[in-house]
Every structure is written in structure tokens, then in C-alpha cells.
């Protein structure tokens, strides 16, 4: 992988040059507490030093609510029109979120490929950026504090410059299109990068021990901890909405008043919702809140591991930040683990 240097004073010029590769989406500051990915009209809005965005980039490929197709009694099904040539660039994606997208790719490219997801995904290039963890980040534990693929370019902040990893031919085109903005990487920058990497490690405040976790979860299936969390949980769905790997959705139809036409839509769903596991006949196989909370953890750290060989949690800390009841995944797993070994 080729690595070049982009002095920070050239960043804005580089970003402007990217517009010919597609519409840029990047983090902006909404207010003092909140950052979010947004369509960029003016590059000065971009804030690459952000902490974490409220919603992960999944919102662009699996929108919170999306029309899948239209139908009518006369014309039958009518697919939604997508401009397959419309290119986008997602700029400033943290390592954990790139891993999150890779997990969604895995899920939606299974036996039945989800073209609703991939239409936008395939036309979007990813430019990653390094970050400084806060007290809710546990990406290091999840092995998602660095990325090896899933991006076209990755910018690592080394104070005066970015080290730019070029991972794809598209990324190479982007750099070549503004070749004069880039410099060769010298010994000094390598030293600076090492220093920065070491510094980053010092910022981690929490760790989640993954060793043998699926087995421990199986052993602790009946643990009282689940009921304790069930008492606190509000089933508000915040954790699922902000999760970069929660991909459940609910499908429903919206009819016109005359009933002759309608739209089939899907919207984000959550296994914490009471009606998530409600089936025909009124039976609900996870009617207890504690069972639903447990299911969320089991899916991330037990079921997904069995199916795909790794957990579907990337340690981004969003669920910790957004839970009104202060349910903290690291504390929960730590508690379950200690229950198993005490």
C-alpha cells in the first residue's frame, strides 16, 4: 500500500479537488455536543477532528426509512429509480465505522443480495481518518482501531500533515488528480506517526475482554444480570438506531386513500421493541424486556460470531453515549464474565 504525505495546509485544496469524484459527505458539528455526517456544500463546514457522529454512516446505505418500490392495481410493481452513475465520497470515516460498514456488507451480500443497500454502497468511495479515542471508545478491544481494507484513502493525522494510505486504484486516481499537493514520506514523518500511534493507545479508558466470550455467554444464559438490565432498559431503541451494525428493519405498506396505489417501505427496527418478536396469533417469544436486552448482546457477541466468525460490535461507544439508562455494554459484558468465573 503506497503512503504519501498531505500537508494540512493543502487539505482544503485536496477536498475541493475531490468534488469531481462525487458528492462529498463528511462530519460537521451540529452544535457543541453533536457531530453528524452531512452533505457538504462548503468544505469549511467539515470537521475532521470530530469525536463520534450521532448516527453512523449506515444511514446513507440503509436509510432510516426507505421506499423499496411502488405498486398499483393497474401497473403492478414499479421499482424506484436510482441514478447508477451518481458517485459519492464519504470523507472522514473513523476506523470503527469502516469496520461497521464491512459488517453490513457481509450481512447484505449473503444468499439474497440486498440491492437496496448496495446501489448506494457500490457508488461510494470511503476516505478514512484517524481519531483520538475518548472514555467510551473500546475499538482496541474489538480489533477495530485500525483498518486494512474497506477504504480508498485513509488519512492519519500527524499534527502538521496527514499520512495518506492509498488502498485502491480509485484512491490513487484521487491523489494523482492533485499530485502537486502531496509529498513523499520521510523519516521524520514515520517517527511522528509512531509517536501518534503510541499516544492514541494512552487515551483508551475502557477495555472489553473478548476471550472465550461466546462460551461464557452460553454458560451465563440464565444469569440474573439480564434481569437487572431489563429493569433499567427503557426499550427506547436508541442503542439500535445509533449502532453501526444494527441492520434490522421492518417492512410495511403505505396505501393511498383510494387503495389503488401504494408504496412498500422499510424502516429501522430494533430487537428491543416489544413488538419485534410478536408473531401471528399474538405470541411473543421475547415479551420480557430482559429477554430482549439479552438477545441484543447475544446477537452481537454470540450469534454473529458463530455465523460470521467475529462479533458484530465495533467498539464505537455510541450505545454507551446514547443510553438514557446508562446501560454500558463494556460493564455488562465484564459483569457477565466475572459471574462466570467467580
Amino acid at each position: 500500500m503506497q503512503i504519501v504525505k498531505l500537508p494540512k495546509q493543502n487539505l482544503d485544496k485536496f477536498i475541493k479537488s475531490l468534488s469531481k469524484f462525487g458528492q462529498i459527505y463528511a462530519p460537521i458539528k451540529k452544535d457543541a455536543n453533536t457531530s453528524l455526517f452531512s452533505k457538504i456544500e462548503d468544505s469549511s463546514q467539515i470537521d475532521l477532528g470530530y469525536n463520534r457522529t450521532l448516527l453512523p454512516p449506515k444511514k446513507y446505505f440503509l436509510p432510516p426509512i426507505d421506499t423499496m418500490f411502488k405498486f398499483s392495481a393497474e401497473a403492478g410493481y414499479e421499482e424506484m429509480e436510482h441514478d447508477l452513475n451518481e458517485k459519492s465520497i464519504l470523507l472522514g470515516v473513523h476506523s470503527c465505522d469502516i469496520h461497521g460498514l464491512r459488517i453490513l456488507d457481509l450481512v447484505f451480500s449473503g444468499r439474497y443480495v440486498d440491492n437496496y443497500y448496495f446501489t448506494g454502497r457500490k457508488n461510494t468511495s470511503i476516505i478514512g481518518v484517524s481519531c483520538i479515542p475518548d472514555d467510551m471508545c473500546f475499538c482496541r478491544s474489538m480489533g477495530t482501531d485500525f483498518v486494512e481494507n474497506g477504504f480508498d484513502l485513509f488519512l492519519s493525522d500527524i499534527d502538521q500533515s496527514y499520512l495518506v494510505r492509498i488502498a485502491t486504484s480509485l484512491g490513487d486516481d484521487m491523489v494523482r488528480a492533485s499530485q502537486s499537493l502531496f509529498k513523499e514520506v520521510g523519516k521524520e514523518e514515520i517517527e511522528e506517526h509512531k509517536k501518534k500511534s503510541n499516544e492514541m493507545q494512552k487515551h483508551f479508558k475502557i477495555d472489553l475482554e473478548l476471550y472465550n466470550l461466546p462460551e461464557i455467554l452460553d454458560l451465563e444464559y440464565e444469569s440474573k444480570t439480564w434481569e437487572e438490565i431489563g429493569e433499567k432498559c427503557l426499550s427506547c431503541g436508541s442503542c439500535s438506531m445509533v449502532c453501526p451494525t444494527c441492520y434490522c428493519y421492518d417492512v410495511f405498506d403505505e396505501l393511498s386513500l383510494d387503495g389503488k396505489t401504494g408504496e412498500r417501505k422499510r424502516r429501522w427496527d430494533s430487537c428491543l421493541f416489544k413488538d419485534y418478536a410478536l408473531v401471528a396469533g399474538g405470541t411473543n417469544f421475547r415479551s420480557e424486556r430482559s429477554a430482549r436486552v439479552k438477545n441484543r448482546y447475544f446477537h452481537k457477541h454470540r450469534g454473529f460470531v458463530a455465523q460470521y466468525g467475529k462479533p458484530s460490535c465495533v467498539g464505537c461507544g455510541r450505545c454507551i453515549q446514547s443510553c438514557p439508562a446508562k446501560i454500558n455494554i463494556v460493564e455488562v459484558i465484564t459483569k457477565i464474565r466475572s459471574d462466570a468465573y467467580v
Partner: protein, 255 residues
């Protein structure tokens, strides 16, 4: 297929749901194409008071004994009865002081002229009759009403979100007023459907749509107490729109 015969009725409330229906200006003609409106006192002069109805939409809470009689009449006439708005579904603001005797409230509010009418503690429709479906909101959301009509006309049970306002608020990427600004927000226990209307404008959720199914009031109260709100403030907010709701009554009875 003949058009379903419907009636739109109001008990005690602000008539907000009826106004929302009348405000469906772009859709009113389409509504008339699919519904045969037989009774709608707020909007029509010739109302059929006797005919059988397929659907009765009823807004408002019950605060007078006579209303019980007229509600039961409506129930008898109609195949389906749908509660419209938070007053009809949960009791609404009229029920916020139900723990104070009606006599006392009448004395405070009306003084001696209060003697000429009877008043009962405000109750939602389901305390008196079977309610087939509920659309809450203060007022109801126009889109929910139209979707419900579209479903009903085609013989389906309307599907409205059962999750909390937090879900919509997160989707809109609002800064969390409860966690980041420590405001008294009932978003986690209030049923969605408003697209987090207030939080979108930086105003905390006051719970006007009523509680979600299986609302975890105890946990919400703990969170708010930790944020420094007194139990009195919290209880007042809980009672404001949905005092008679079982989850809220259970919480209030504990203290």
C-alpha cells in the same frame, strides 16, 4: 363496494383532532371519495343522529355524566369505534388533577355557578366502552390519521409505530435533551409518531402522545431524579397528558 358510513364526534377537549381532519386540505376531496360522512358537527349542518355507522371517530375525554350516555349511543350505532387524540385515548390534560375531588375543582374554577352542572373525574373512552383502535397525539398527526383511514377503508388494521419518541429523535440526529442538556424529557417512555416534533425544535418531550406499551416509568423516574428533578416535578409532567394510564397510576400509587 359502498363507502363506509362514518361519524366524527367530540367529547370534552379542544376539538384539535377535528381541526386536524379539517386541515387535511389537500386530501379532503379524496377523503370524501372513500368515506360517507354522516355526522361531523364541527364541520356539517345536516347530521344523521340515528343511522348505523361503520366507523365512529371520537375525540375528547369524558368529564360529564351525559357524555357517558352519548358515547354509549355512539358505540351502539357503530361497528368500529376509534379513539382520536390523547384525551380520548389517555384522558389528556383534563385528567391531570384527577386526584383532587371534582367538587373542590369546581369550587376553585367556577365558584357558585359550578352548581348548575355535574362533573366526573376525566377518563378516556376505554373506561366506558370498547375501543377498537387508538390514534393518540395532542393533536393527532395528520399523516397518521390519513394512513389509518387508508388502512381501514381497505379492511386492514392500521399499523402505527409502537416504539418511543427516542427512536425518531435519534433518527433525526437531535442532540439528546435528556442526556446532554439534562432537561425533563419524556421521550424514552412516550409513544412515537410525531417524528420527535418538539425535540427537533430543541424542546423536550412532554409526553403528549401518552406512554409506550410497557413503559418503564420506574427507570425514567430514576434517570430524571439523578438529573436533579424532584419527584413532584416528575409526577406533574407524567400526569399532564396521560394521568389515568395504568403505568403512570401504578407509579403514582407507589408513593
Amino acid at each position: 363496494m359502498s363507502k363506509p358510513k362514518i361519524g366524527i364526534f367530540g367529547m370534552t377537549g379542544c376539538a384539535g383532532e377535528q381541526i386536524v381532519i379539517l386541515n387535511c386540505e389537500d386530501e379532503l376531496m379524496d377523503i370524501l371519495k372513500v368515506l360517507d360522512i354522516r355526522s361531523f358537527h364541527t364541520a356539517m349542518s345536516k347530521n344523521d343522529e340515528k343511522c348505523n355507522l361503520d366507523i365512529a371517530f371520537v375525540e375528547g375525554a369524558l368529564v360529564q355524566p351525559e357524555e357517558e350516555i352519548s358515547l354509549k349511543e355512539i358505540r351502539k350505532r357503530s361497528r368500529l369505534l376509534i379513539a382520536l387524540g390523547t384525551c380520548a385515548v389517555w384522558g389528556g390534560v383534563a385528567a391531570m388533577k384527577n386526584e383532587v375531588s371534582r367538587q373542590r375543582l369546581k369550587d376553585i374554577v367556577y365558584g357558585s355557578p359550578g352548581r348548575i352542572f355535574k362533573s366526573i373525574p376525566a377518563q378516556p373512552l376505554h373506561s366506558f366502552v370498547k375501543v377498537d383502535f387508538s390514534i393518540s397525539g395532542c393533536p393527532i398527526e395528520k399523516e397518521q390519521f390519513l394512513q389509518a383511514v387508508a388502512s381501514l377503508v381497505h379492511g386492514d388494521i392500521p399499523v402505527l409505530p409502537k416504539y418511543a419518541v427516542c427512536t425518531e429523535c435519534k433518527i433525526n440526529e437531535n442532540t439528546c435533551l435528556l442526556l446532554e442538556k439534562s432537561e425533563l424529557c419524556l421521550g424514552p417512555i412516550t409513544v412515537a409518531g410525531c417524528n420527535a416534533r418538539c425535540a427537533n425544535c430543541g424542546i423536550p418531550c412532554s409526553g403528549c402522545r401518552g406512554p409506550v406499551e410497557e413503559a418503564n416509568i420506574a427507570s425514567e423516574v430514576e434517570i430524571l431524579k439523578e438529573k436533579g428533578f424532584t419527584l413532584g416535578d416528575i409526577n406533574n409532567q407524567l400526569r399532564t397528558f396521560a394521568g389515568p394510564a395504568e403505568a403512570i397510576q401504578t407509579h403514582l400509587a407507589k408513593r
